[in-house]
């Protein structure tokens, strides 16, 4: 291409063409600069007097006032996140003559920690409006307030200011569901309109507080104030009142949440309760929790280190992020998958030995019942939780049908609509294993997945969501926290993946519910201890292995460290004919599934029969 033109091109001429254009541009640049200079001449010489007067008269300044944050209510009107007035000691640096002297004087009156002084120094360096005060010590006690007030007249530049602060009245049981607000960092300011946050004390960080920040924050007020020549505010001339943030109403039931948290006892674990009619989250428990109030005004590094380094991982949201093997709670889903693709039927009989082998001389995959279950069918495999049945079923199916069927229930996906930071769990597939381990999928991998072990990992919220779809006979709802927002219509833009899961024979739903019902009612059912309720419970137990047993090795709880004990799981819903509540519970290292099963029944009694211990009356609210 280039060579073709080469002969005809006059490079000299092309060069002078561009050079002429450059010269023309230079003239244009000069002309436009002259325009700027004459504009400056007009402002600074011709109109100078006018603007000098204007600047001298300029005693009017705009000050932003942060709006009160929206409140968060539970379903019965209990306030879970409140605004509380506090008194804080603040300093206006411009009015302090001798800072080291002031520091000494203040230290004589109040106990101010090194952390507080260094936090003050830090904020002193950040950009702020002149004469804007900086908080030194927040939440003064009444005694401290009294002591400072006496000496306030001789402490120039020091004042006590009334502020609103965020307060979480019910503390740690709610920390992982509600989240918390914290001090605004530079990073936070990048994702919001920093002008609006001028003067704001905190911003939503996690949970509901983080996700709904834009709704909860409101609109700051602007006031026109008159200042003196040194910039101090003398008088307020005009104001636009702040518009308070919007209040959120959750599906969460505070009593149920606190009760579930307490029922976990000293165990680590998680409980998720859902309303199957709409996917509303009734309880979202992760234990241990922490006191969210610690974070509101900036957590001290000592407190933070203690939380971060605790072996019990209180900051870890198990309900949303905890990756657990679903263990035998996966069996109803496996059974439905087998039915869907014609690998199993309700009538076919199967002889369950104490183990399963892929090859006659291969590894023995053991059943939890050493002597085996004898002749059984699909329904009995759910009732008695027969491992070998699911070993052979998963082996016959292979991973691809399992993956395709289970993904309709939300496994492997972030299911929760309005909370950030949920985990995806892991619904393994052939492609996944190739990408992750550069190995193909082995039949043995399927066998393990058949009983919800091996590569399969799910979070509590995922398992609860999936169970909801069975309880609803196929209606899937994405779980959600907020039911309504003030001023907004009930549908405020949350778009879920709500859908009807389609299966070939819809009678399988009812049949599966019946099988899970018999897990409780049958004399050999693994949850027969829950018999005797006045309503019908359907459920499924599970025990998740924390460490792998060698072939033929037996699980011996007595001689095992507690942290290696099996995780105990239970899924349940009630009443089974027309479910009103779905519960998933896991006790980490809980040993047997009797603990989560009992907990689930107690929650059902509470929720359906209003049978709470008396001590929870304070969380009853006015609408229950």
């Amino acid at each position: 291409m280039a060579n073709k033109h080469h002969i005809f091109r006059n490079y000299r001429q092309e060069q002078s063409l561009t050079q002429r254009r450059v010269i023309f541009a230079a003239v244009f640049v000069l002309l436009l600069s002259l325009v700027l200079m004459s504009r400056l001449f007009f402002l600074q010489v011709v109109e100078h007097e006018r603007y000098v007067t204007k600047a001298d008269d300029n005693r009017v300044m705009l000050v932003t006032e942060p709006p009160p944050r929206g409140l968060i209510y539970d379903t019965n009107g209990v306030v879970l996140a409140d605004n509380r007035p506090i008194h804080s000691l603040t300093i206006t640096p411009e009015r302090v003559a001798d800072f080291s002297k002031l520091k000494k004087e203040l230290s004589d009156i109040l106990n101010i920690s090194e952390d507080e002084w260094s936090a003050y120094d830090q904020r002193r360096k950040e950009y702020r409006r002149p004469y804007q005060s900086i908080t030194l010590k927040s939440q003064l006690t009444d005694q401290e307030w009294a002591r400072v007030s006496v000496d306030l007249y001789k402490l120039d530049g020091v004042q006590v200011e009334a502020q609103l602060t965020r307060f979480y009245p019910y503390g740690e049981a709610f920390a992982h569901a509600i989240g918390y607000v914290g001090r605004i960092t530079q990073k936070d300011l990048q994702r919001v309109d920093s002008q609006s946050y001028q003067g704001a004390q905190f911003i939503g960080k996690t949970g509901i507080e983080g996700f709904y920040e834009s709704k909860l924050f409101g609109r700051p007020g602007i006031s026109k104030v008159e200042v003196n020549a040194r910039g101090r505010i003398m008088e307020e001339l005009e104001r636009q009142n702040p518009v308070p943030g919007e209040n959120l109403h959750l599906y969460l039931d505070a009593r149920l949440q606190q009760y579930a948290y307490d029922l976990l006892g000293d165990y680590k674990g998680s409980v998720v309760a859902l309303d199957p009619k709409n996917g509303g989250i009734l309880a979202l428990v992760s234990k241990p929790g922490f006191d969210p109030n610690l974070f509101v005004r900036g957590i001290s590094s000592k407190n933070y280190a203690a939380l971060r380094d605790s072996k019990r991982l209180p900051l870890f949201n198990r309900a949303l992020r905890g990756g657990y093997p679903p263990a035998s709670t996966i069996k109803p889903f496996m059974a439905l998958a087998g039915l869907e693709y014609g690998f199993s039927s309700w009538n076919e009989r199967y002889y369950a030995k104490g183990y399963y082998q892929i090859n006659p001389n291969g590894r023995r995959y053991r059943d939890w019942k050493r002597e085996g279950h004898g002749w059984i069918n699909l329904e009995r495999s759910i009732i008695e939780s027969v491992d070998t049945y699911y070993y052979q079923l998963a082996h016959k199916m292979g991973i691809t049908p399992i993956h395709n069927f289970l993904s309709q229930f939300g496994f492997g996906e972030r299911t929760v609509l309005d909370l950030n930071g949920a985990g995806k769990g892991l619904l393994p597939s052939n492609e996944w294993k190739k990408a992750r381990y550069k190995e193909s999928w082995y039949p043995g991998d399927s066998v393990n997945v058949g009983i919800g072990q091996g590569f399969m990992v799910a979070t509590p919220i995922q398992i609860a969501t999936a169970v909801t779809a069975i309880a609803n006979r196929g209606d899937y709802y994405s779980p959600r926290m907020v039911s309504t927002i003030d001023k907004d219509t009930p549908d405020f833009g949350l778009k879920g993946e709500d859908h009807k899961i389609k299966i070939k024979d819809s009678r399988n739903w009812e049949h599966m519910v019946k099988a899970m019902r018999r897990v409780v009612t049958d004399s050999k059912g693994t949850a027969r201890r829950l018999q005797g309720a006045s309503y019908s419970i359907a459920g499924k137990t599970g025990t998740g292995q924390v460490f792998s047993l060698q072939e033929d090795e037996e699980y011996d709880a007595k001689n095992l460290e507690k942290r290696l004990h099996d995780h105990a799981l239970f899924i349940g819903f009630a009443p089974s004919e027309k479910p009103e509540i779905v519960v998933f519970a896991i006790f980490e290292n809980g040993g047997s599934s009797s603990k989560p099963a009992d907990l689930t029944k107690q929650l059902f009694d509470a929720y359906l029969k209003d049978d709470y211990p008396k001590k929870y009356n304070y969380l009853k609210g006015d609408r229950s």
């Binding site: 033109h5 060069q15 600069s33 700027l36 504009r39 402002l43 204007k54 600047a55 300029n58 300044m61």
Partner: protein
């Protein structure tokens, strides 16, 4: 040796050291002059915040480092890399639209896992003129109708992508940087004049198809003083600051408008108002002169460059730099509508310092890689 001062200066600028390090002394000196002035103003505008001045110095130093690195790269490599870079950055722009990280309601950033985040649209300001200059590098000038059409397509696609982020300011600057190449390549005057004549007609037609609320938005955009507590506040205060400064100014750190915080954004987009108040028309004149020094050197480099690619690229980059400065000063002094364009190399913060210094690295490379005559 009897040398005049001018000959001395010339021999200094041709010194071996500078040739070796590929630094163009005149350009570097003008830039240092501009930046030093900027730092002095920033100290006052930030409320005498040493921390902020230090952070700005670090950014400027990083900018100079970027400039030096690029100056080592001979223009022929830039020529070869141009189309690849263009396609790559355009791909990243698509990435931003798909997986961009939001800030203040707009998606501009791309996050490198484990690394910093960056704005592909910012880099496009350099890559766009590189691409167009590359396109003309092996074609005879002035361009034919077909070539002009092709170039307009190359310009419009990334511009629309950036406008969709949405980032109107940057998309216009990217468009301008490409159009400058077209102009320097010898776009016939006929086209320029008819485009100028058609613009009001197009605007008139557009006005009639617009919805009422859109018209209202345009009106507030053109006349911010109709919204005195909102965007109009800034412009009223900045005009008062500049006007009250007079010829000599109120003195450093003495400006009441700036120091009492009547001026919002005084350390970023509106920093020239602080200069105008405290150093008067004299100070502003010196600043504009410093800019003109930089621009004059850039245009000289363009005019004396060795081939079409270098000439077109150097000229366009220099003129885009001028547009920055003109738009910023124009908006702060109230003759242009308020668009968020910082004063280049003087306003606090922003990734723009790095990209602007990168353009000067390219200019230095073009100047210092000429074959010795």
């Amino acid at each position: 040796m009897n040398l005049t001062w001018y000959e001395r200066l010339l021999s200094f600028t041709n010194a071996r050291l500078w040739r070796l390090t590929h630094v163009d002394v005149l350009l570097a000196a003008s830039l240092v002059l501009l930046m030093s002035g900027g730092l002095i103003v920033l100290y006052s505008a930030s409320g005498q915040n040493v921390d902020m001045v230090e952070r700005q110095m670090v950014r400027l130093a990083l900018g100079f480092a970027t400039c030096l690195v690029l100056a080592q790269l001979p223009p022929k490599y830039m020529l070869r890399a141009s189309p690849l870079l263009f396609v790559g950055i355009a791909g990243l722009l698509i990435g931003v639209l798909l997986f961009g990280v939001g800030a203040k309601g707009a998606q501009r950033w791309l996050e490198i896992p484990g690394g910093p985040r960056f704005q592909p649209s910012e880099i496009m300001k350099i890559v766009m003129p590189m691409m167009i200059a590359w396109y003309f590098s092996d074609r005879p000038l002035p361009p034919s109708f077909k070539q002009i059409f092709t170039v307009l397509i190359i310009i419009i696609v990334p511009v629309l992508m950036i406008a969709k982020q949405p980032d109107l300011g940057t998309s216009l600057l990217v468009a301008v940087s490409g159009l400058f190449v077209l102009f320097l390549a010898g776009l016939p005057w006929m086209y320029i004049l008819s485009a100028g004549a058609l613009a009001p007609v197009a605007g008139y037609l557009l006005w009639h198809v617009m919805h009422d609320y859109q018209r209202q938005r345009v009106l507030t955009f053109l006349n911010p003083e109709s919204d005195p507590l909102g965007s109009g506040w800034n412009i009223i205060q900045s005009k008062t600051a500049i006007g009250s400064g007079g010829i000599y100014g109120k003195g450093w750190l003495e400006g009441t408008q700036a120091q009492l915080n009547f001026l919002p954004e005084s350390h970023t987009d509106f920093i020239i108002a602080v200069l105008g108040e405290e150093f008067g028309m004299l100070g502003c004149g010196v600043l504009i002169l410093a800019y003109l020094l930089v621009i004059a050197r850039g245009l000289y480099i363009s005019a004396t460059a060795e081939d079409n690619y270098a000439r077109l690229l150097a000229g366009s980059l220099t003129l885009t730099f001028f547009v920055y400065m003109f738009v910023n000063i124009g908006m702060v002094s109230g003759i242009l509508p308020v668009v968020g364009v910082p004063l280049p190399l003087v306003s606090y913060g922003g990734t723009s310092i790095i990209t602007i210094m990168a353009t000067f690295g390219i200019l230095m490379s073009i100047q210092t890689h000429k074959r010795a005559r």
